[in-house]
Point group: C2
Chain length 507, copies 2
């Protein structure tokens, strides 16, 4: 078989450095002008200053009378001042403009009215009870700097400052080309060998979360000319081109070759697991990424390399990921010389996060979907010891994890049913279960790694389930034993049991 | 003047309790079926189980030959086994279905080929190098529970499990009616007394962040019949009705009266500042909120009361807000008997968050727009002492705040210009400035409350700026003095200075 080899397998750090050096040189997308009210989460293309002051007139801050503060000078309980309504005192409501020449407002509660006069017992200070021009926003004042992601309160401030439109960076357009002879669109009637194309939808959703727009192209078979043609066509409209699968070194992996022909390969092959066959390139200055076809590899490499790029194109830098300290529940082994990203389930038991690694196959999307966090085994490490403390990057919020009931042990369908009812009734809570057998569950409880354990251990001496094991193995652990189901085992026979089967012997 | 009074001014806790008791009884919105690929951030209406296994056939996990593991029994370096290609060994690539009757794959690297035979030196175990049916997802397995907010990886899992559509809760529809004679649409040519209507846009953006859809109605003048008619019309289509302004006790505040006529007022008036005139009601089972017209009051009451409701209608509970411990930079005074929500700027100086209260006017949206966090002065407290440690709810991320350069002191336009350049060049960094005069800035540096201070203090003895003050007041503080601008003060005269003005005297 004809095989290609990776251009050069780089460390993750070196690959990230080369990629960043390239994309830092790319300008952000050009600006576009959009209505302020549609600008939530968009990024300002330039600084925005107030077109007008708010308020743009002196406004009464109270219901009462506009007066000249000079006329109130010396007023007191013993020497009240009388001001003529219409001349020296003009009725105003909250928000009304102050009539020309007036400079204070006396509250209606502080006034006695006698015919055409108001009587006041205390002097006013200049602009007392007045919202003066620019009290909130001063014309020309900076409302938003450049590269600011617009929040609801910014929408209010922009409108208050007289803007109806705002110049924002255009959303980067990501063109995604899924490839592969075996890959079919969701909903297709499947034949053995077919794989449903879901990677592009997953990457499109990730891109949307990061502020980009995605256009998915149709699936391209492993035919070099077809793929090359599609790449050229897609590059015409996109800011960032993504090709899914075909970046590895198999006989049908044409992407590295094509990208080398059309442009320059920056990185091909990174020493990470999963995600090794990632491919990063530039064609006529445009960034191009070849994403491995295994879904977990696709997700992880897309986060590592596409996310900072998509943010950069908008004039943003991604926020730091939320991490927590976790304790490893069982040893993790990893190859030295390779950075491994391990998916883990977390549980908060006795005030500590306990991390249990889940399956490591790059093809098992459910291992990622069920993971609570990712931990990284660095290139120079062979793994982690049991109980070692490591940093974990959260995939779910701490609150969700804290509200997760960790169930380890023997599995039963009732656990899925309970998980669903729990979520239905208490949306903040969830139940996470790892299936390691009854004894594994009891051990997890003893080591404070689980809140509940599923167990169905038969004591053959007594014919009783679980009780003797718990008494022996969890002697000092206060536990509550709840029986969820009885399983009845037997034969299903024809109605009326025509063959009169009563026993295993009768078979 | 005719005045109305609040039905009863409740504590915040009591108001929240009554409102929650009411809305907890409301069902979530009915389900709708949408394409999986458009379901990002939507909430499952019911549990979703896999329609099919993934893989749904035994698939080769390697490039090599499919074999029967039984045929490899006993193979070793000294006793290799020969298997006939086509009969006992069938070539397969990664992902190919295993031919009927075969149950293991030997990797191409582990095989010697001799004519029609492959020779293997080691036995295989059952399903070695095979991705068996359901390795990733088992048909009927729970993929997502009910009330789960869909992430990119969930989209992948749903598609992999055979779904092309998913039943999600319909987005709650919020109908928003802005009211007020003085309120005009953004873009209108303004006359004194006009106020730009931006509250509804701000609340619409907040609603969108929380997963709802908003429809904004046109502005309604303070005419009772018009408003009542609009309320009835809007209630027809929305899940939650919001009326902005008119909920207070002024003569033109008709909302409480109308809601009393059409339904039941649950809360009118809450002992909070800002936000006292908030109004919560139910009309034919539908939640209705009267939001105060001052923008800061609108924002804060909408977060307090609308947010949990909008989440509830989707089957969700809001995530806990991110809080941090902060130290108060100067005393905060508040009325006893009222919960006050104070906007603060935060700075991380010497590893501690220092909170400086900003303006407290409910009408000044910029005070909220510039705030980093909110602190709550409880009903029973008169305020906080200087240096007291309190809990602050973040409005910006910790990272953004840590990357904020805190500038306190005298203000100059160069600070705005620097703030913008900084953000342009280093999008993660920002400069926040509080204007408290030169001396205030020096004090802030001394108390480690600021990173930089603007100062322009003239020493009249030496005619020199700043230096003597810094030497005296910041004796033991290592500071760097950087001169940014010289201001030249003088007269602008006609070209050629025809009147020969040289001095103040010449005027």
């Amino acid at each position: 078989m004809k095989r290609r080899i990776y251009l050069k397998t780089l460390s993750l750090e070196e690959a990230q450095k080369r990629w960043k050096t390239f994309f830092k040189g790319l300008p952000k997308t050009e600006p576009e002008e959009i209505p302020v009210e549609n600008s939530l989460n968009r990024v300002t293309a330039e600084a925005v200053s107030a077109l007008m002051s708010s308020p743009f007139y002196h406004a009464s801050a109270m219901d009462g009378f506009a007066v000249r503060f000079e006329d109130t000078h010396g007023a007191s309980e013993t020497t009240p001042k009388r001001l003529k309504i219409g001349e020296q005192a003009v009725p105003v409501n909250t928000g009304n403009p102050l009539p020309e020449g007036f400079n204070a407002v006396v509250m209606v509660e502080d006034v006695h009215q006698e015919g055409d006069f108001i009587i006041i017992n205390a002097p006013l200070t200049p602009y007392q009870n007045v919202r003066t021009v620019g009290e909130d926003i001063v014309q020309t004042e900076l409302i938003l700097p450049e590269n600011h992601q617009i929040r609801p309160v910014d929408i209010a401030a922009l409108l208050a400052g007289g803007h109806t439109t705002v110049r924002v960076n255009r959303k980067p357009v990501v063109g995604i080309i899924p490839t592969g002879d075996e890959v079919v669109e969701p909903g297709t009637t499947l034949k053995p060998g077919n794989i449903i194309e879901f990677n592009s939808r997953m990457l499109a959703a990730l891109s949307a979360e990061w502020g980009a727009e995605c256009r998915r192209e149709s699936i391209i078979s492993d035919i070099k000319d077809l793929l090359k043609e599609k790449i050229i066509k897609t590059l015409n409209y996109c800011d960032f081109l993504v090709i899914i699968a075909g970046s590895s070194v198999g006989t049908k992996d044409y992407t590295p070759e094509i990208l080398g022909e059309l442009g320059k390969v920056i990185v091909h092959g990174v020493n990470i697991k999963p995600g090794k066959p990632v491919l990063l390139a530039a064609i006529e200055g445009k960034p191009v990424m070849g994403v491995p076809g295994y879904p977990v590899s696709a997700y992880i490499t897309y986060e590592l390399f596409a996310k900072p790029l998509i943010y950069h194109l908008q004039g943003l830098t991604p926020k730091a990921e939320k991490t927590v300290k976790v304790r490893i529940s069982r040893p993790v082994f990893s190859s030295i010389g390779q950075t491994e990203i391990v998916r883990v389930k977390l549980g908060k038991v006795s005030d500590e996060y306990v991390a249990s690694p889940v399956g490591r196959g790059a093809g098992a999307i459910m291992t990622l979907q069920r993971a609570d966090a990712l931990i990284v085994v660095p290139e120079g490490r062979e793994g982690f010891d049991q109980n070692e403390e490591v940093e974990a990057r959260l995939l779910r919020s701490e609150e969700e994890i804290e509200n997760t009931i960790v169930c380890i042990g023997s599995h039963d369908n009732t656990i899925d049913i309970m998980a669903n009812f729990l979520r239905k009734r208490y949306p903040l809570y969830s139940l996470s279960s790892a299936h390691v057998g009854s004894m594994g569950g009891i051990v997890a409880i003893r080591q404070a790694q689980a809140h509940i354990a599923g167990t169905h251990l038969l004591d053959e001496k007594t014919g009783e389930y679980n009780v003797s094991y718990i008494k022996r193995l969890l002697k000092d652990v206060p536990v509550q034993l709840i029986n969820l189901v009885y399983r009845m085992q037997g034969f299903i026979v024809k109605k009326g049991n025509p063959k009169n089967i009563k026993d295993v012997e009768d078979l």
